[in-house]
């Protein structure tokens, strides 16, 4: 979770949700996100809600974390009550979840299982840093019910890893992937492109290295200079150049070419999978407006048109739960308008696109000109079952497309 929390309305202390949010819940899919807010070191570009042991004063709270988070899972069960149902997806993200002993992650998954149950064939992912996993640890996770691991590879080029302040040895990535395979886990790799100093060739090497690991899924993100990060300071002072949009566009196109040629199809602007069955269902639920409960400090949740987010600091989080209160910091109840905007904003990023029937007249009117400008695919937009689907150019100019669909 990015670390700046939005403004919102106060959230009730008992975490209760309006009836409107719970109505019809059983017809909607349900997922659980578990945020583990710890990292060994903080990377210069990262503004996720995460803390190093020194920041937390010795890391004592790390040991207690699984137990604390389990309290929130329990609370979630109570709040949802009759609307509670088995989870179709579980995603453990961070931070660096694999800093916790595999036993803790297993215990967290057990808590979810005990409270909600898991759907048959549920997708259970954990993020992992390549240098925080061992063959035994990964095997233990698989045994506990994890089905998928997402490694933060970022780059295969040492100079780029250094600019990103990544500590892992690039050679460790293929080994970590092999261990995960051995354990029977699906594998995804995260890449970042457009770091200061990264050449187009560097990027090609990273893509090739990623493909050499034969992952099931690849996420490739354009480096964002997030406010308040060390990277932002370096860019502001001029010690590092700001990422260049044109360069990032070229790298996006290269990624799409290389991944496409290797049999990975895009299903979301920054995500490619080897066949639809390998798309990340948990993330798809975010973009399709599904329900999920976010457990952990700073985690975001969405249930039936209500979004809320937890207090950020692990200590405050633990105190809230210890006192029997909801850790929610604030929430917003989406209006019709908000939901429409989000629907267009999120679904348009998917390869399946926004079904034309979901668009308001103003949005429908914008479609032909977006097709003419080469931003929406002509074929997909046809017929009664048509959808607004981004072309590759459109994927790079998705913000403009969304504005035009929303009539701005």
């Amino acid at each position: 979770m990015p670390s700046t929390l939005p403004d919102g309305d106060p959230a009730p202390a008992d975490g209760s949700l309006p009836d409107s949010a719970l109505a019809g819940a059983r017809e909607r899919s349900f997922g659980v996100y578990l945020h583990v807010p710890f990292c060994a070191v903080r990377c210069g570009y990262c503004d996720f809600n995460t803390y190093t042991a020194t920041e937390l004063g010795g890391g004592g709270s790390q040991a207690a974390f699984a137990a604390t988070a389990a309290l929130e899972v329990e609370l979630a069960g109570k709040v949802l009550g009759a609307a509670a149902r088995p989870a179709a997806t579980v995603f453990v993200g961070g931070g660096t979840p694999t800093l916790l002993p595999p036993g803790d992650l297993a215990a967290l998954l057990d808590a979810v299982r005990a409270t909600f149950g898991l759907e048959p064939g549920a997708e259970v992912t954990t993020e992992a840093n390549p240098d925080s996993v061992t063959p035994e640890g990964l095997a233990a996770l698989a045994a506990a019910g994890f089905t998928r691991v997402s490694f933060g590879m970022q780059s295969a080029v040492p100079t780029v890893l250094a600019v990103l302040e990544r500590t892992h040895d690039p050679d460790r990535v293929p080994r970590a992937v092999a261990w995960a395979r051995q354990a029977g886990l699906d594998v995804s790799l995260d890449l970042i492109y457009g770091a200061p100093g990264e050449s187009l060739d560097d990027w090609r090497r990273s893509l090739d290295a990623a493909l050499a690991c034969a992952p099931d899924h690849v996420s490739a993100y354009a480096l964002i200079v997030e406010e308040g990060t060390r990277l932002a300071g370096q860019v502001r002072r001029g010690t590092l150049p700001a990422p260049d949009d044109d360069d990032q566009a070229a790298k996006y196109e290269l990624a799409d070419d290389v991944l496409g040629a290797a049999g990975y199809g895009w299903y979301e602007v920054s995500n490619w999978a080897r066949g639809a069955q390998h798309a990340c269902l948990h993330n798809l639920a975010y973009w399709r407006g599904g329900d999920w409960w976010g457990v952990g400090p700073g985690a975001h949740s969405h249930v039936g048109g209500v979004r809320w987010w937890n207090v950020k600091h692990p200590t405050a989080y633990a105190q809230r739960l210890g006192a029997g209160h909801s850790p929610a910091h604030a929430r917003e109840v989406l209006t019709e308008e908000d939901r429409y905007v989000e629907d267009v904003l999120l679904r348009s990023r998917l390869a399946e696109g926004v079904a034309l029937r979901r668009l308001r007249p103003q949005g429908l009117e914008a479609v032909p000109s977006l097709v003419a400008d080469g931003l929406l695919a002509a074929g997909a937009a046809q017929g009664p079952g048509g959808a607004a689907v981004l072309t590759r150019r459109g994927r790079l100019l998705a913000d403009a497309v969304v504005h035009r669909l929303l009539g701005a």
């Binding site: 979770m1 990015p2 700046t4 939005p6 919102g8 996100y33 993200g93 996420s219 993100y221 354009a222 964002i224 949009d245 044109d246 990032q248 566009a249 070229a250 996006y252 602007v269 920054s270 975010y286 999920w292 976010g294 985690a299 975001h300 949740s301 969405h302 979004r307 987010w309 917003e332 908000d338 905007v341 989000e342 904003l345 999120l346 990023r349 400008d373 931003l375 994927r395 790079l396 100019l397 998705a398 913000d399 403009a400 969304v402 504005h403 929303l406 701005a408």
Partner: protein, 620 residues
Amino acid sequence: MSPKAMNALAPAATPPELIRNFCIIAHIDHGKSTLADRMLQLTGIVDERAMRAQYLDRMDIERERGITIKSQAVRMPWESAGTTYALNMIDTPGHVDFTYEVSRSLAACEGAVLLVDAAQGIEAQTLANLYLAMENELTIIPVLNKIDLPAAQPDLFAEELAGLIGCQPEDCLRVSGKTGEGVEHLLDEIVRQMPPPVGDPNAPARAMIFDSVYDTYRGVVTYVRVIDGKLSPRERIAMMSTKATHELLEIGVSSPEPTPSDGLGVGEVGYLITGVKDVRQSKVGDTVTNSAKPAAQALGGYRDPKPMVFSGLYPIDGSDYPLLRDALDKLKLNDAALVYEPETSAALGFGFRIGFLGLLHLEIVRERLEREFNLDLISTAPSVVYEVTMEDRKVVTVTNPSEYPVGKVAEVREPVVRATVLAPKDYIGTIMDLCQERRGDLQGMDYLSENRVELRYRLPLAEIVFDFFDNLKSRTRGYASLDYDVDGEQAADLVKVDILLQGEQVDAFSAIVHKDKAYAYGVMMAGKLKDLIPRQQFEVPIQAAIGARIIARENVRAIRKDVLAKCYGGDITRKRKLLEKQKEGKKRMKMVGRVEVPQEAFIAALSSDAEAAGDKAAKK
């Protein structure tokens, strides 16, 4: 020599011999207001408790900017050598744009105090006003002020003043407005040296208007100096330029608060209230007479204020247009020189074309509109008035580059000014370079003292309205001062340069410039816009053109990637807020054809300070 006169003389019953009318000619900050404060105290018309600094600078804007825009007249009693006199101190506006108003104030006086900061020496604008006073045959009393300052060099500047007005250095009085030293002596010298007014008490009344101020409560307050005859309360007066008649609701003197009197006689200075609501009905320079027994001839020197510099003012938020109109209507009540008419710009929407006396006038009006009326405005580059004669002999007056006629032009005439620059002699070369670049013609050069020179130039007004003063100041490290006065017109090789975005002309960026500078202007503007216009989904060519001929071009490349919203995680709220923020940003864009141009780009491109503007825009 008493500090206070025991029994002040009553207005309308004061013999002219006991009246002295004077003004203070001074550059900004040389201490006029402070000296006036001391006079108000010494003559006893403002007591210690009521005293506040800069007493006479009533309008906020004057106090803040340290500029006296509107003059006032104060009547003060003063006893000298056993006789009580009435001294009328007439405050003159201190800036080039108000030369005409200055000339009318001077015409109301018999003498002038030339007040010069003893640490600075005389400035160009003061010199110009001094020459005006000398042409009006006023008695000049040279005074060096701020002698209490350690940096004061009274001996040096006494020499300079003596050289200028043809007196002896020891004739220069030395005062400190701050400590009051020498001020009593100055008041005595005013009585002694300056002649009393003369006029015919039995002739039909003639009074000259030297100032006219709109007051929310009382309507227009008109300041006059009576030349002949007498004006009395409740009589019907006539304005000789317009023949309009009004009833005199109130007549009186300021001392310094307005005090009604039984009238005003020969040589006296005071105010009139007739209930009119617009200073245009009571114009500076006009002659007031009795409507039943009118004078045969008006006093000389009346002139309608003539706007010299034009600029388009547009509300940044188009829906503020009615507010802008109301605000201008209000300002107009107090500013006879302000002229405006509605104007539409394809790029900027609805606004007004406004005529100003000069650049300071423009700045003051703009600032008042923004501050007093809470408006956010864009102003287009200031332009002067061109007379364009076509080959078919048709003449077109152009106050806005967009009015420049298409077709065969035979001749273009532009206004010219006579400019005076005063500076230390080390800067002669620098100043000559600058004036040369601005198409100036050197008319003459004089040494005011060993160190300081006066340079006289004829320059096109258009060259002065565009950042000339800033340039002069920065190239002379602030030492040069400038004054200018309109001096006819001349034919010149001028062309109109247009700026096109994606082939569409942007009227706000058109300019009329000298042929030799057209290319530089085109390159500069196209370059500036290239940096200011954000990349769009398509390529945006920027061209500068004279007619159909392209003289410069730049290109804003098409944007390839804008997808910014966070691509990971469940914080959808943040994504949506980002989108809403972008949408807000789009509202501040003006559409030029299909091109979105941010307001900031217009402001920055139109501002004269290219670099600072570029910085500002880049930060947004």
